[in-house]
Symmetry: C2
Subunit: 476 residues, 2 copies
C-alpha cells in the first residue's frame, strides 16, 4: 500500500523520467555527430547511468502509476522506458494501460520478451488483454494451459465487448448456508488472504447455485457459532455474463454496490463484478462518449503515430465534408439573389451557426437523458414541447438582436426582419432536430453520441441557408 502516492509526487516522477530520457536522446545525437572514440565511451557510460536512474525512479511505482507514466510519454521515450521494465511489472502495467497505449506497447515488444511478460498474467488478466495479443503467441499460451484453464480462457475471451462477462472476475470466495461462522472462517483461512474488494462471501448450495451473500461486516461481528444462513442477505442483485456492462454499472451507481455475483442461466455462481472494474468501465464509457461527440471514431493515444491519428479522424471528417457540400448547394440555388445583394453572403453564416449551436445543446441534453434512461416513450412529448418552446423564446430574443445587428450594419429594416425570421425558423428546426436525431439513432440501435452532432449541424446549416436566402428572395 505504501507505493500509493499523492498526485504531485507522480507528476515529479514523470517529469524526471522525461528529462532523463531527453538528456539521453541529446547524448545519442551528439555521439552520432562525432567519432572521437574516447568521448563516445564516456557518453555511453553517462547514458547507461541515466537509464539506471530512470529505473530507480520507476522501481517503486504502483502498476497503475507506471501505466500512467507510459501513457504520458511521447512514443520514443515510451519505448525506451518500456524496455527498462522487468517482465513481471510490465505485465501488470499492460493490464492497467488504456487500450490504445497497450496496443502500441505490444507492437514494439519483441516476441521473446512478450512471451515472458504474458507468462506473468493470470487467466482473468490474460482474457482482458487477449484482443491485443498477436494470434500466434495467444495460440502458444493456450496450448500451454491445462484443459479446464483453457476452457475458462476461451469462455472469457468469447464474452462480447461491454458485457458483464468481459468485466467480471472468476476469483470468488464461497461458503455454505449450513456452515457456522467459525467453520466458514476456518475454510477461508486455508485459502489465505481475502481479496481487497471482498465485502461479502457468496453462499452457495452443493450444486454451486447462489443462495445469498454473507456480508463481511456481519461476519466480523457475528458469534462464532452463528449459522451463515441467519446472517446472509438472501436476495442479492445478481447479473448474467451476457448482461450489458452499462446496465450493471448503473446498478452499482444507484445502489452503491461494491461487488455483485454473476450467475449463469441455471443460477450457478460463476464469477463476480467488483466496483473497481465498474469504475474503470464508467470512466472509459464517459471518455469514449466525449470523443465520439467530437467526431472521433475511437479512443486515441495522445502520442499515436500520424497515420493512425489521421485514420481515426477520417470517417467523420468525410461525412462532414459531404454534408457541407450538400448544405452549401442550397446556397447555389440563390446565386442570383446574392448577386443582387452581397450582404446576404456575409450574414447567412450567422443564421446557420446560431442554429447549429442551439441544436447541439439540445442534442447534449437528450443524449444525457438517454444515457440515464430518463427519456421514456411517455415523456418524449413533454420533452419536445419544452425544447420547442425554449428555442422559440430564444429565437425571438436572439433573432431580434441579430436583426438589429444587421440593421445597424446595412441600414435596411427589411433585411433585419428577414434575419430575425430566419433565426426563429432555424432555432425551432434546431430544437426539433436536436430531439429527433438522437432518438432516431437510438431507435435504430446506434450510439446517439456518434453522429448526432454532424447530422444536426447538417440540418441547421441547410435550414439556415434556405430560410435566410428564401426569405430574402421573397421580401428584398
Amino acid at each position: 500500500m505504501s507505493n500509493r502516492r499523492p498526485e504531485t509526487d507522480l507528476h515529479q516522477t514523470l517529469s524526471d523520467v522525461i528529462q532523463l530520457l531527453d538528456r539521453n536522446r541529446v547524448l545519442q545525437e551528439l555521439a552520432h555527430r562525432q567519432d572521437t572514440p574516447n568521448r563516445d565511451v564516456v557518453e555511453r557510460l553517462q547514458q547507461r547511468q541515466n537509464l539506471v536512474e530512470v529505473q530507480r525512479r520507476i522501481a517503486t511505482l504502483h502498476p497503475a502509476d507506471l501505466a500512467f507514466v507510459l501513457e504520458s510519454l511521447p512514443r520514443d521515450d515510451r519505448s525506451t522506458l518500456w524496455e527498462q521494465i522487468e517482465p513481471a511489472e510490465a505485465a501488470e502495467a499492460l493490464v492497467e494501460a488504456e487500450p490504445t497505449v497497450r496496443e502500441a506497447l505490444i507492437s514494439v515488444t519483441g516476441r521473446r520478451r512478450l512471451q515472458r511478460i504474458i507468462s506473468h498474467l493470470d487467466l482473468d488478466d490474460l482474457a482482458w488483454i487477449a484482443d491485443d495479443v498477436p494470434e500466434d503467441i495467444l495460440r502458444e499460451v493456450r496450448a500451454s494451459l491445462a484443459d479446464t484453464d483453457r476452457q475458462l480462457l476461451e469462455q472469457s475471451i468469447a464474452y462480447p465487448e461491454h458485457s458483464v462477462g468481459e468485466l467480471m472476475t472468476r476469483e470468488i470466495w464461497t461458503g455454505r448456508e449450513s456452515q457456522t461462522v467459525s467453520e466458514l472462517l476456518a475454510d477461508l483461512r486455508v485459502r489465505g488472504a481475502l481479496p481487497e474488494h471482498a465485502d461479502g462471501i457468496f453462499v452457495v448450495d452443493g450444486r454451486n447455485v447462489l443462495k445469498g451473500v454473507a456480508p463481511t461486516r456481519a461476519l466480523l461481528l457475528a458469534r462464532p457459532d452463528a449459522k451463515i444462513d441467519t446472517l446472509m442477505e438472501t436476495d442479492p442483485l445478481a447479473f448474467k455474463p451476457e448482461d450489458q456492462a452499462e446496465e450493471a454499472a448503473k446498478a452499482f451507481e444507484r445502489y452503491d454496490l461494491l461487488t455483485a455475483p454473476v450467475i449463469n442461466e441455471r443460477g450457478k455462481l460463476i464469477g463476480q463484478l467488483t466496483v473497481d472494474a465498474v469504475m474503470d468501465f464508467i470512466r472509459e464509457a464517459a471518455d469514449a462518449e466525449a470523443l465520439a461527440m467530437a467526431g472521433l471514431r475511437g479512443g486515441e493515444d495522445l502520442f499515436a503515430p500520424i497515420s493512425a491519428s489521421a485514420r481515426n479522424r477520417t470517417p467523420w471528417l468525410f461525412v462532414n465534408l459531404l454534408t457541407a457540400f450538400v448544405a452549401t448547394r442550397f446556397i447555389g440555388l440563390f446565386e442570383s439573389t446574392i448577386q443582387d445583394m452581397v450582404a446576404l453572403a456575409t450574414l447567412m453564416p450567422i443564421v446557420a451557426s446560431v442554429g447549429g449551436n442551439t441544436g447541439n445543446q439540445t442534442v447534449a441534453l437528450v443524449i444525457r437523458g438517454l444515457a440515464f434512461d430518463q427519456v421514456t416513450r411517455d415523456s418524449i412529448p413533454h420533452l419536445i414541447r419544452k425544447e420547442l418552446l425554449v428555442s422559440l423564446s430564444n429565437g425571438v430574443i436572439w433573432g431580434s438582436l441579430v436583426g438589429l445587428g444587421a440593421l445597424a450594419l446595412y441600414g435596411q429594416w427589411v433585411l433585419g426582419l428577414v434575419m430575425t425570421g430566419a433565426v426563429v425558423i432555424n432555432l425551432v428546426v434546431a430544437a426539433a432536430a436536436g430531439v429527433a436525431v438522437p432518438l432516431a439513432l437510438e431507435r435504430l440501435g446506434r450510439d446517439p453520441a456518434q453522429g448526432s452532432s454532424v447530422l444536426v449541424t447538417f440540418i441547421t446549416d441547410s435550414t439556415g441557408f434556405l430560410a435566410f436566402l428564401g426569405l430574402a428572395r421573397l421580401f428584398l
Copy 2:
C-alpha cells in the same frame, strides 16, 4: 437489499406511474368541464384510487430509484408524486436526486412539509443539500441542534464545492494500535452494525491522530489475540478536506480504493471518503463536462421550466452570436470579390466547416489529456508537432478532394486550387488552435471544456473565410 431491482422492473414502474398520473389528469380535466355533481364524486374516488395505486408502486422503491422516477417525470406529474411520498422517504430521495431536480422539488414543497422532511436527515446529508434549502429553514434547523452538531454542520457547509470535505462523511469506525482483535471487535459490537462500505477500521492514537488502517478482511481472518498494529497498513493514502475532489477521484480510480481517511493539518482523523460518493462525483463531473462542451452552463433538469432552460443556454449562445458576427465581418472585406464570382459564397462555408470539425477533434483529445494529467509541459511540443502533421496530411488529402469537388461544380482549375490551399491553411490553423486554446484556458485557471469549442470554431471560421476569399482575390 431486496428492494434493489433490475433495470427493466424499474422502467415498468416508471411507465405505470406515468400512466396512472396521466389518467388522473384527464379525469381532472373532465371534472372541470362538466358540473354534474354525482359524476364528480365518482371521478374523485377514481382519482383517489389511482393515487393509492401510485403509492403502492413506489412503496418498495429504493431511495435511489425513487429519485430516478422523480427525475424522469414531467414537472406536473413530478409534483403530484412528490406530495404522495412520506417525509422519511422523501428525505432520502432528496439526497439521492440530482441537484437541479432537488432544487425543483424543494421549490414546490410547502414550508411545514419541508421542515418535516429535513428533520429526517442526518448531519452529513443535511450539509450535502444545504445549498438548496431556503435560508430561513436552515436557520431554524441550526438553532435546534446541539452546539457540537451545529459546529460540525457549519464546517461541512463551509467546505468549497468539489472539495474532499464536501464529499466526505464523518461516520467513522476507529480502533487503537494497542488493542487486540477481540478487544476491537467487542468495541465495535457495542456500536452496532458496521457501515456497508467499511473495508477497514481506522486506527488512531489517544489524540485521534491517524496511525493506520486495519483491513476488514485481515480482521476477519486474524487470531482473536493478535495485536491491531501487527495487521494494520501503516501508510494509507489520506486526504485533507480542502483537497480537490477531482484529485481524490483519480486516486480512487488508480489505486482501486474503497475508502480513504480524511485528516486535518495536524494529522487528526476527521472523516472518510467512500467509493460510492466518489463514483457519484465522477459521473457528475463527466456529465458536466459533456454539457459544458456543448455550450450549456450547468446541469439542466430534463423537464426544467422554459425560462430556466432558456437562461441556462443563454451565455454561450450569446458568445456564439458575437463571434459569428465578428467572423462574418471578414467576409464583408471581400464583398467585391464575391460580387465578381458568387460561387465563392457557396464554397466558403465548406472551408470553415471542415476547419471547425478538425479543430474540435483536437480540442476533445487535448481536454481528455488534460483531465488525465497526460499533457505535461515536457510533452506539449511533441503533441503540437503531432497534431500539426496530422492536420497537414489530412489537409492535403481532403483539400484535394474538396478542390476536385469545386472543379467539378464550376469547371475552374484555379478555383479548385484556391479551395485546396484554403483547406490546408485552415486545418493547420485548426490544429494549432485546438491545442493552444484549451491549454491557455487551463493555464488561466479556467475549465477548458467550457468555451474551448466556441473559441476554436471562431478561429477556424475566421481563418476559413479569410484564407479562401483572400486566395480567391489574389488568384481569380
